[in-house]
């Protein structure tokens, strides 16, 4: 894939430094559909292999969220990377690629679910990995690793019948260290504390 040739066709793209040999461009967020259509029709990029949403940090007022597209050409056997930064940090928007690549459907839903980027023009932008009523976007950098409590899905078994189901906590867990040091390692695991203090009645 020749970057000069692509650049001569689309002057709004800017070459992006690439450390892995993939031809990479920065693309203005409002022209991503145009760029993808052109790459698909004229440069034989038949597949959208990957779409990654990135959060560049909660302190940024502009260009906080970005979307990294990887297109693949089955005839030339080459990748192209397109990177778009969303203007607004509060309500990140970008045009959907679902009109160009069918595979964009779930990839964009995932980016919306986990990062909260809204894809305008997506036929059904619903959550995909988390349940529909989940309130947060967990991959954002200001979402704590320990998690936050959220209302359980409507279909939760404990809501429907009288069977006693005690849900597992949605925050805590063994993979984070508390900022203020606790003396014992079990202090990092809220579930173990429950067992010790006898709060939990499901054992």
């Amino acid at each position: 894939m020749n970057s000069e040739k692509i650049l001569s066709e689309m002057d709004f793209l800017k070459v992006r430094p690439s450390s892995d040999g993939i031809v990479a461009f920065d693309c203005p967020a409002d022209r991503i559909v145009e760029a993808a259509l052109k790459l698909k029709r004229e440069f034989e990029c038949q597949s959208l292999t990957d779409l990654a949403a990135v959060d560049m940090g909660p302190d940024l007022a502009k260009c906080r969220f970005g979307v990294v597209y990887h297109l693949f050409s089955h005839t030339k056997k080459k990748y192209v990377r397109l990177v778009c930064m969303c203007e607004s940090a509060e309500s990140p928007h970008i045009n959907s690629l679902t009109g160009v690549y069918k595979g964009a459907d779930w990839l964009e839903r995932e980016a919306y679910d986990l990062m909260g980027i809204v894809f305008d023009g997506h036929p059904r932008l619903a959550r995909i990995l988390m349940w529909d009523s989940y309130p947060w976007h967990p991959l954002r950098k200001d979402f704590p690793l320990a998690g936050k409590e959220a209302p359980l899905p409507d279909t939760f078994a404990g809501n429907e019948d009288a069977t006693r189901v005690v849900p597992a906590p949605e925050s805590g867990g063994p993979f984070h260290s508390p900022s203020s040091g606790t003396k014992f390692s079990c202090g990092r695991e809220p579930r173990s504390m429950q067992v010790q203090t006898g709060e939990s009645d499901n054992i």
């Binding site: 892995d20 990135v54 056997k77 009109g99 990839l107 023009g121 036929p123 979402f143 690793l145």
Partner: protein, 405 residues
């Protein structure tokens, strides 16, 4: 906005003829879904008119966890993606990290990684074929496949110490060198595997019942496959000869001789044939790798990436410090971003890693081939009978641990 097509509407929403149709939930706990997949299917009589796969029951937030641990600490998590071929995932992940740092691993390491990848491919395809055969009603093929897989598990145990979650690759090399006589055991396995594979082949491939049930079912055209981003055997089953091992060679795959199997019609039967042929090609690659297994070190010599050997750590102050730094802070990876796709048994497993420097990634995006495969179901399943759904699902060979991450 310019569009090339529109999507099918999701099942059971906004249809005024809903009285004539029926909504059926397949799963989340159903043997034909190979995991916790739920399919919301709209039926007109016995005919599927719409299908809406609902995933996420196994979501563990692996991408979030990855941002909070060192690169080597994340390797065991990659085992839990496609848990039928864990070493392929380990190797794909460390290859991506090595791509950012520009690390070129030793030739011996590359050859060992190729053997590990291909053995894992065999292990994964055997489960895929076994489950596929069972979905079509054949129990015998399941036992035949699992007998062979058990032998592979013994080989993995000998090499890595674990049967299923191997966690064997490390950034810059492998966890340990090849044990004595292991390559001989792999060779023995390869020698007895080909006749066993012929048996599996003869058992099913010309079986009248199997052919009747799979031929012309679940046809995916090459255009559809590329549009949805399908990869691996599912893409090659549709006749697109894209094999990343050949086209974007990694691990020195360009030095091995092997053929890429492709299907002619893109139906469920073709995907069976492609997987059977891939098993034969994997054995071919393994034999070449054993033959030219180079001598030398398994890990690179950079102690900012790979900790020194244990006996040195116990004797030298400097090596002790290196060991401490690499283990606690992670390998020293420069700033940068990389995308790497490995041709795994389920399709192309991709990692996009953004590094801000240091031992912890800033962002890891996992491109799970099973996720992409399942997203195409909304277009492939409609128009088939309800009884064909287990066949099509079996022929696509996905794994939900990878889909939900």
């Amino acid at each position: 906005m310019e569009k090339e097509f529109t999507y099918p509407e999701p099942a059971g929403l906004g249809d005024n003829r809903i009285g004539e149709k029926m909504i059926v939930n397949l799963g989340p706990s159903h043997p034909a879904t190979h995991g916790v997949l739920r399919l919301k299917i709209e039926l007109d009589g016995d005919m599927v008119t719409r299908c809406d796969p609902i995933v996420g029951q196994l979501h563990r937030g692996q991408e979030k966890l990855a941002e909070n641990m060192t690169y080597n600490q994340f390797v065991p998590f990659t085992d839990r993606l496609d848990y039928l071929a864990p070493m392929c995932n380990n190797i794909a992940f460390v290859q991506c990290v090595e791509k950012i740092a520009g690390i070129d691993v030793t030739e011996r390491c590359k050859a060992l990684r190729v053997i590990c990848c291909e053995l894992s491919r065999i292990a994964s395809h055997l489960v895929g074929l076994a489950a596929y055969g069972m979905d079509a009603g054949g129990w015998t093929v399941f036992m035949y496949c699992y007998t062979q897989r058990e032998k592979l598990m013994t080989l993995f145990e000998e090499l890595t110490g674990a049967r299923l979650t191997n966690s064997f690759a490390r950034v810059g090399g492998m966890r340990r060198d090849i044990p004595e006589s292991w390559l001989g055991n792999v060779n023995k396995f390869a020698n007895q595997f080909l006749p066993a594979l012929d048996e599996i082949d003869k058992l099913i491939t010309r079986n009248r019942i199997f052919v009747d049930r799979t031929e012309g079912i679940g046809i995916i055209t090459p255009e559809q496959a590329m549009q949805w981003g399908l990869t691996g055997p599912n893409l090659r089953g549709s006749g697109v000869a894209t094999d990343l091992r050949k086209d974007c060679p990694y691990l020195g795959y360009d030095n091995y001789e092997f053929d890429v199997a492709i299907g002619a019609r893109g139906d469920a039967y073709d995907r069976w044939l492609v997987r059977i042929e891939e098993l034969r090609q994997s054995i071919r690659i393994i034999r070449q790798a054993i033959e030219k297994m180079p001598d030398g070190k398994i890990n690179i010599d950079d102690h900012r990436i790979v900790p020194p050997e244990k006996d040195k750590v116990l004797r030298n102050m400097e090596d002790l410090i290196n060991n401490f730094v690499v283990v606690t802070q992670g390998p020293a990876i420069p700033r940068g971003e990389a995308y790497f796709e490995a041709d795994n048994p389920k399709g192309a497993l991709g990692f996009y890693i953004m590094s801000m420097g240091g031992g912890v990634p800033y962002r890891v995006k996992i491109r799970a081939p099973s996720f992409i495969t399942l997203s195409a179901m909304q277009e492939i399943l409609p128009g088939h009978h309800m009884s064909d759904i287990p066949i099509i699902l079996g022929s696509m060979d996905f794994v939900l641990g990878e889909c939900d991450r």
